[in-house]
Amino acid sequence: MEPGVSAAPLTAAAAGLLSCHTCALLSPGGARCPRCGSPLHRRKPDSLNRSWAFLIASVVLYLPANLLPVMYTSSLYGAQRDTILSGIVYLWQDGSWEIATIVFIASVLVPLLKMLAIALLLVSVQARWTGQPESRTRLYRAVEFVGRWSILDIYVVALLATLVQLGSFGHIAAGPGAIFFGAVVVLTMLASMAFDPRLIWDAAERSNG
C-alpha cells in the first residue's frame, strides 16, 4: 500500500524540513529534535568523507586478512596453517563442497562485492550521476543487509579453536588473519552505515528542478 505522493515530488530537505533519524518527526529546523532530543541533520554528517575513509581502511586490511593465516591446525596428520582461501580449497577437496561454497560466498564474495558496491555508490554520488537512483538505493539496502554475514568465518574459527582442544588428537588456534578479517567486516559495515542514500536522490533532483 502506498501513501499519497504530493503533486510534484518534494523532499523534506527541499521543503526546509529536517527528519529526525530516531523518531521520524519532521521539524522546520533546529539542532535537536523537539520530541526525542536527538541531534537533527539534513543529511548524515560528513557522509562521503567518512564512508570513503572506512572503505579505504577496509580495502587496506583486506590484504592481510586474506594473506595471513586465519587458523592453525595441528593433529595426528601434522600441522597446517590455513588462510581463508586455502581453507575453502581444503573443504572443497575434502568433499564438503556445500560448506566450501557457503564459506566462499560469505567470506570472499560478500566482502569484495560490498566494497565494490560502496565504491560505486560513492563515485556515483560524487560524479553527480542521475541515472537509476532506485537501483542504487536497492544496492545500498542490499549492502546494509548482507554485510554482517561475512563475520561467519570468524565464528567458525572461534568455535573450532574452542572445541578442538583434544590433546594430541587435535589442536586448533586462530591466526592473525582472523582479526584483520573481523576488522574488514566491521569497517565495511561502518562504511555503509556512514553513507547517506538520500545523496543519490539529491543529485537526481538537482538536475530535474
Binding site: P3, H21, C23, S38, E134, R141
Partner: protein, 198 residues
Amino acid sequence: MNVAHLVACHDCDLLQRRRPLPEGGKALCGRCGAVLYRSHPRGNERALALALAGLFLFILANYFPIATLILGGERVEATLYGAVRHLYRTEMRLLAGMVFVTMILMPSIQLAAMCWLLMPLRRGHVPQARTLAYRALEVARTWGMVEVFVLGVLVTLVKLAHVADAIPGVALGSFGALMLVITAAGLSFDEEELWSRA
C-alpha cells in the same frame, strides 16, 4: 505548517502523507520502495512478550553448551562464554572481544532495552531515558549477529562431523529460537506508540 501527518523517506527523503494501514500492513515509499512505517495492532504487547521470552532463551543459550566434541576419548564442551574466555586466555583477545560484543553484549542490550521501553508503556507511562534506550536498541540491532552465529555453529558441526563426534547442544536450539524471537519482537515493536506518548 502542520507536518504531523507527513513522513520523509529515510532512503530518498521524499515527503509523503501518512495513511491508515490494514492490519499487519506496511507502507512503502512511492519512489524508492523503502519501508516507511508498519501497522502494529497491539504490537507492543506482543513485542514485550517476545522480549521476555527472548531473555529466557538467551539465558538458556548461555548456560547450556553449544556443541560437544568427542574424539579419541577426549571430550570438549563449548558454551558461548566458554568460547569467549578460551579465546581471551589464548591471546586472541580481539577475537574474544568481537564474539563477546556481537553475541553477548548486543543481544543483551537489545532485549533489555526493549523491556525497559515496553514495560512502562504497558502501564501507560513514558519510559525514563526514552531516547537513550531507543538509540541503544538501534545500535544493538545493528551489531547483534545471532543469525550468523547460528549458521556458524552449523558450519562448524559439519566441518567436524567427518573427523569426530560433533554433537549439537541445547544452546544451539536456544540461539535459533532466540534469533526468530528477536526478529519478531523487532517487527512488532510500535515506535509510534513510544514516541506519541507525551
